[in-house]
Symmetry: C2
Subunit: 909 residues, 2 copies
């Protein structure tokens, strides 16, 4: 028969840490601890297989389970010398869930199981009536709510107790007498009966009720949401741990607590935690009583009594166990313990959750201590969630705690920002003269760029994590919260309504781009230590311990990664940031933003709608002079490193006015008839601009725009070359879908480059390649590779077209898809391996087959997302390109990918 129950304890232990999938994290760890000789209360684990069986078979248990559970209880009776249901000396057990992946607090737990009306008397006799009835009332309330389902917004058991406390004039649970608690047990039983339920007086019935409740709690809503959030598979299942109770509430030599083997906030190497004397575990968790610190040193208030002072032997035992655990588990542990009359029991240990700061410090220090390898240190840190915390400006935590949270949106650009509300980009620019500004819009568009750059942070009511606002914010390192649908903007009244508040333009607001929170009022912020060292230079490395850890980790990572890391940057200052963060080149220099500047857009417009060829040519010449400066700037900063410049991508209408008055003004300026200009602009409107006349299509039908850009690139490069620098421009053609597009454009680029180089008398090393962003380009990559020296996967557009999702529109249904698990994850956030990824794989294979030395990279937003970076490593790209502020994330993720090799997964899996 299959084995469904595994014993653990000092006497016998059948499992181990290796059996996490079967026994769950908690069960496997308890078994492991027992094997290590750490004092754990004896118990047994019902495997996750039972949970899976249960859901596959309409709520039935597998055959043989009943007998094995019975044998398990017998084992506990032997180990404790107590008997299940015995009126004299009853065995009490806890029943807890324990999934293979930690899901703290998500599922249900029952304690003190085994007490009945008869057994409580025996228990009272052996301990004290107060203890016995306290234990019983706890069982009743937990069983009542968890197993019998008696619950409400306010816990009815809690209400009954509060009422009794009022009657008795008791301020704390501890003020209730044994008689009070006996009365409470009666009232709890009445409450259960009033709800039409019954508390079973057979302990076996109690046990099976509790097992069922734990198994079912796997599918409760909280647990489902948690799994979705942490990408835990639905069919993993939970184990059930049945364990002999030990009691922290047997008087003042008893207690319970939680500790971390290192500080989970800062990572400092010291035992950190809190405990309560004479209490059970949930008292700590529930926060009913304020716990005391474990160590004397951590006291913040002289009235506190630390464990070190209260029970010094237990404290030193805990220090000893901490060493065993860290040596064994080689990670910071989160440990639950109970002290029963001076004897320490460890109830649970697991890797502790930690801040990004702590994660980096613990990993680096453990590696330096020799506890783990540098490889392991690198793998321990989640690049996006943890490492990037080191770059983010932060709110003063106290001030933030006092502020009113108005709403929550999508955390799009990490960090903290505070400023006055500006409801338009021009206003943002204007107001930014006076002080910090938050630009608040329905959504942003390319002509908001200057306003976005001027603002401290960007807040939008619409759009997802790859909306214009989010993408630009990350690229220029702005704090951003997007898609905050609770915002009601009224541009006309210059106000916004949210959470009952009416805020006017100019009012203070704060946004937390790490959590997505929108907060009322002004909250002070400061740049992070790493940023102060690398960018603002307001700190020296030696004054910055966090920077030193960061620097060490990055050094380790760089030594391991195979993928190159480049930046998506359009401007010299962005390129500077990228360099400071470790970029080895520019993977994507977009050129369209360059035309939206106030001094350029008029020329751009003239180039597009000029009334005659001469005017058009004049405008293009003016633009070319400016473009030469643009390219000179970025090539100068990136001297010696490759700079991929993408030729103009957006459709023409984005550069032209939409409002009648602006059209009139433009017509007047260019000497055109208003009606004709309006008709011309209208004719450029498209039903699906995403799939319209843009990119190379424009380059082919309107060649002089591209010609101008290409000439500017080579004029700029020539100038630098003559100064003795080594410019490495690479010209990228966007939106190629057919080899002939690439062929025509490559020939044209080479022709212009050759001419310019001849005129300038220099040789410049350059390449011509394409963005692979149209599905057809991936499918016909072999054909295209004949004409392209590099491919850069534009996975934003490739994802849009492969899924048929417009990222400007899909926000609403994608959210629902994710909630309903129709999509396992947002494909604009994490690269879709099976669809988009399969196309990339095809393109890589076909491209390399034809041109073995083809350079392959990615410049979509996925280039800065860890799991996507891993995939890029796996399919053999040469580099990833990410927004400047994501460069460290990409470097770390690339190192993790290299260490893990082909294996799929993320840090912490």
């Amino acid at each position: 028969m299959a084995k469904y129950v595994y014993l653990f304890g000092a006497e016998k232990t059948e499992g181990s840490a290796k059996m996490k999938d079967l026994l769950g994290g908690k069960g496997a760890n308890l078994a492991e601890m027992a094997l290590l000789g750490i004092p754990v209360p004896p118990g047994f684990t019902i495997t996750t297989e039972v949970c899976r069986y249960y859901y596959k078979n309409g709520g039935r248990y597998p055959e043989g389970l009943a007998e094995q559970v019975q044998a398990g209880v017998r084992f506990l009776e032997g180990a404790t010398g107590r008997k299940f249901g015995d009126p004299e000396n009853p065995l009490l057990v806890s029943v807890r869930s324990g999934a293979p992946v930690s899901m703290p607090g998500m599922m249900d737990t029952i304690l003190n199981l085994g007490i009945t009306d008869r057994a409580v008397e025996g228990l009272a006799a052996r301990t004290s009536p107060r203890f016995a009835y306290d234990a019983y009332r706890r069982l009743l309330s937990m069983y009542g709510s968890v197993v019998l389902g008696i619950k409400d917004e306010v816990d009815p058991f809690h209400e009954v107790m509060e009422e009794l406390k009022r009657e008795r004039g008791a301020s704390s649970d501890l003020d209730l007498t044994a008689e009070d608690l006996e009365e409470l047990v009666r009232r709890y039983q009445d409450l259960i009966q009033k709800n039409g339920k019954e508390f079973p007086q057979d302990p076996w019935e109690q046990l099976w009720g509790a097992i069922g409740a734990v198994v079912r709690s796997w599918m409760n809503e909280r647990a489902q949401v948690y799994r979705r959030l942490y990408r835990i598979p639905e069919d993993m299942g939970t184990a059930v741990n049945v364990q002999a109770m030990v009691f922290g509430n047997l008087g003042n030599r008893s207690g319970t607590g939680v500790c971390f083997t290192r500080d989970p906030a800062t990572g400092e190497n010291r035992l950190y935690g809190e405990f309560l004397l004479n209490a059970q575990g949930e008292d700590v968790v529930a926060g009913i009583r304020t716990p005391n610190p474990i160590s004397k040193q951590a006291k913040t208030d002289p009235t506190q009594i630390s464990l070190e002072e209260a029970l010094p032997q237990v404290y030193s035992e805990l220090l000893r166990i901490r060493d065993i655990l860290e040596r064994h588990y080689r990670d910071m542990q989160d440990v639950e313990f109970t002290i029963e009359e001076g004897r320490l029991y460890i109830l649970q240990t697991r890797s502790g959750k930690r801040t990004g700061f702590a994660a980096v410090r613990i990993a680096v220090e453990m590696a330096e201590e020799g506890l783990i390898t540098e490889d392991e240190a690198i793998l321990r840190i989640d690049p996006a969630e943890q490492l990037s915390q080191l770059l983010q400006p932060i709110f003063d935590p106290k001030a933030k705690a006092r502020a009113k949270v108005l709403a929550k949106g999508l955390a799009a650009g990490p960090g903290a920002a505070t400023g006055r509300i500006a409801l338009s980009a021009p206003r943002a620019v204007e107001m930014a003269q006076e002080g910090p500004v938050i630009l608040v819009r329905h959504e942003t568009s390319p002509d908001d760029i200057r306003g976005m750059a001027a603002a401290q942070g960007i807040l939008t009511a619409r759009g997802g994590l790859t909306s214009h606002a989010a993408v630009v914010a990350r690229q220029i390192g702005k704090v951003a919260v997007v898609g905050c649908e609770a915002l009601h903007l009224d541009y006309g009244k210059r106000e916004l309504r949210v959470a009952g508040e009416v805020l006017r333009e100019g009012d203070w607001i704060s946004i937390d781009g790490t959590t997505g929170e929108v907060l009322l009022g002004k909250i002070p912020t400061q740049p992070s230590e790493v940023v102060q060292v690398l960018l603002t230079k307001t700190l020296k490395p030696e004054e910055a311990p966090v920077y030193q850890l960061f620097e060490k980790l990055m050094r380790w990572a760089d030594a391991r990664r195979r993928l190159g890391v480049r930046a998506n940057a359009d401007q010299p200052d962005q390129a500077q940031v990228a360099l400071a963060f470790g970029a080895e080149g520019i993977g994507l220099c977009r050129t369209e933003h360059m035309f939206f500047a106030e001094d350029r857009i008029p020329y751009m417009q003239e180039a597009l709608v000029a009334p005659n060829a001469a005017a058009r040519k004049r405008a293009l010449s003016a633009l070319q002079r400016m473009q030469v400066q643009d390219f000179e700037g970025i090539l100068r900063v990136m001297d010696g490193k490759p700079v991929i410049i993408r030729l103009l991508d957006p459709p023409m209408h984005e550069f032209l006015p939409k409002e009648e008055k602006d059209i009139r003004a433009l017509a007047e300026r260019l000497g055109l008839k208003f009606e004709e200009l309006r008709a011309q602009i209208e004719a450029l409107q498209e039903f699906n601009p995403m799939l319209g006349h843009r990119g190379v299509r424009l380059g082919i039908t309107h060649p002089d725009l591209y010609d101008m850009q290409v000439e500017a690139i080579f004029r700029a490069a020539a100038k630098l070359k003559k100064e003795g620098l080594t410019p490495k421009p690479e010209v990228m053609i966007p939106l190629v879908g057919h080899v002939n597009e690439m062929k025509v454009m490559r020939e044209r680029v080479v022709e212009i480059a050759t001419r310019v180089m001849a005129e300038e008398g220099v040789e410049i090393h350059f390449k011509v390649g394409t963005m692979v962003e149209v599905p057809r380009a991936a499918i016909t990559a072999d054909e295209i590779a004949r004409e392209a020296e590099f491919f850069s996967f534009g996975t934003n557009d490739l994802t849009q077209m492969t899924f048929g999702y417009s990222r400007d529109d899909a926000g609403k249904f994608i959210r629902e898809y994710l909630e309903r698990r129709i999509l396992p994850e947002d494909p604009f956030e994490t690269l879709d391996r099976n669809g988009v990824g399969a196309l990339m794989r095809i393109a890589v294979e076909k491209g390399r087959k034809i041109r073995p030395d083809i350079s392959l990279g990615i410049c979509g937003e996925h280039g800065g997302e860890s799991r996507s970076v891993h995939f890029c490593h796996e399919i053999g790209l040469d580099y990833v390109s990410a927004s400047p502020w994501r460069i460290p994330v990409a470097r770390l993720a690339a190192a993790q990918a290299a260490i893990k090799g082909g294996k799929v997964g993320v840090a912490g899996d």
Copy 2:
């Protein structure tokens, strides 16, 4: 050394018909005829390889060519007993192009080459001065324009001759005397000199000049356009044929003519053609003199003298040769001949161009005569170009010839239509009461359906061959011309401007959907014979010979094809048409059009924006009742045959009003606040509706719409089942991109179907499947096949997303792409094998791997396009689905594909 020159003639023939690629069609045929013993003037062919070499090597000829040409000329001298450049008895030759694929009239020809100022005297002595100078002046004018490039809008040589004729009072060339012609030769030479050129007096120089001109004519503009039109590869090259001249202008026992071995207009099995006595070939082609018929029977005027009468022996020789040619070539031949002093020479034979009617008749009759097999008969007919002519209404040809052509657009719905201009769909409906209407719009949209149905024809200024207008027109069998950019519509003034005309709403206009012509005024039309038999039943089969041929051909085709043929049809009447044309099921029943009817749209709108759940439910119930009738209707017509019903596809905003006044009216009707409704409608607007919230995405977020449709399908089927019929509904989920979408929807459909069948007490055979139209669906077809019982390739959207082309917007640049040969063909017209096709192939393989009995079809517009049908056969689809009027095309194309097997190509290749 490579062989570049192949001889032919009675004495020696080195080539044959098999060497078409090398010798061109004309050269190979001349060789073949020589081998058959048919009298051809001796000559030699310079291979196509020389032409290819010439273009690859910057206009140089391969080494050895000169020597081989010289030897060729020596051969001609031997065969004719004349000498090249000889002043006494000069050898004259013609120099003509001849590509492997016939390109009639596209390239240049020089005749009488070899005459010089000295040789003309010898020639005059041996023939007559008149003949000699006539030949010389012809050479000079041809050489002058073709080789020396002396040409203008009006041919300057022609002008000089006309002037001389005026001076001499001559009404025809024949009235000019030998002296006149000698004078003309002088004037021609003056003309050449005045143009700074010189006519070479060395015949070899003449010969090389002519060879060069012919080779260069391969790249002239006409030839390029022709190749693009007929998809002839650029690098094929042309051969050059140098042949001894024979003269049709040596008096009244000489002549020249063209004949077809069967009637190219009707296909009738009789020698058909025309000739001129005492004339050279180009006189027939140029239409300077009106030719006479070949046979007595064909005389339309008693003053004509047929060849049969004029030269009876030559006539019977021609009849004899005709039999040899048809037996040998097994196809109707287009034969050029010359009679030199009573002796017949065949200059050229090739498969003759023919109308669709002739193509069908010739193929069927030749098969019945045993000349070709039925397979060959099937392969002889181009389904779209020729077979479909048999279905099209036709203009009275004489009336059409008199009408003014206003503009040309894309031929989108074949046939002829005439009617009054209506500039909006409601006006079209209204005006159609009074008489035929042509709906003229910028473009059409789903709410124009009623107007389109009411109109005779549809004319749009924007959009391509798969625009809404084109797709719907083909589906409902309407004549359509789309993307006619010369039209300037002014809805406000209710007028359109084109070609200098201002037409007002109500004016008469005509459109030819076969040619794309837009014509001024009213031109009478009539339905075709096939349509009169099958649909209008106004003719009996036995009265309709064309129908009988059609029917026979279809029978042969059906016996051979492996692909099933279904129809895209939404309505019972369309389904009737489809059945009449041979559909074996419905491959795509779109349901969205059903909601745009006047009596339905209010309910649809209420279902979408109702103020409360009850109202929404009421509206959905009303819609459901109507949908039951819809589905009952179509399932009844298609009894026993599969009917794939696609659930609602378009985004919600398409059903809601856009204009303020309409929104106000709707708000009033539903008791909503105008501002709120407007905001609601605005919130539904999308940047890229193509990639937005539609199809299954809507089905998942708004399940009650799909639920209503699914229930209606099964209620309708149940009703028919109870009547004893065999409904076979198949539910198709649109726009699936991820297996989970399909899973959720399949479960829901099965659940509803099961419930309805239980309630109705019947069992209905049904399937649930998906449209494969999102690239990701193709890539992950293995995953999706687990949940889908059929795939139907929606190649319209699949093409859009694979290329990243919005078909509403891409018209402009696609046209330029085609002209510049960046795209080899319009992917919305012919399936793109390498891109979209590669995705389909992946989907077929992956789908069948997981579900071997999966049903695979195509329902995009490509389902009715021959080359795409061939591809569908090749990748192993089960069926193609086409608009009802394209069904015969699809049947024939499917048979051709089956006959050709895996081989790629089209009829006539």
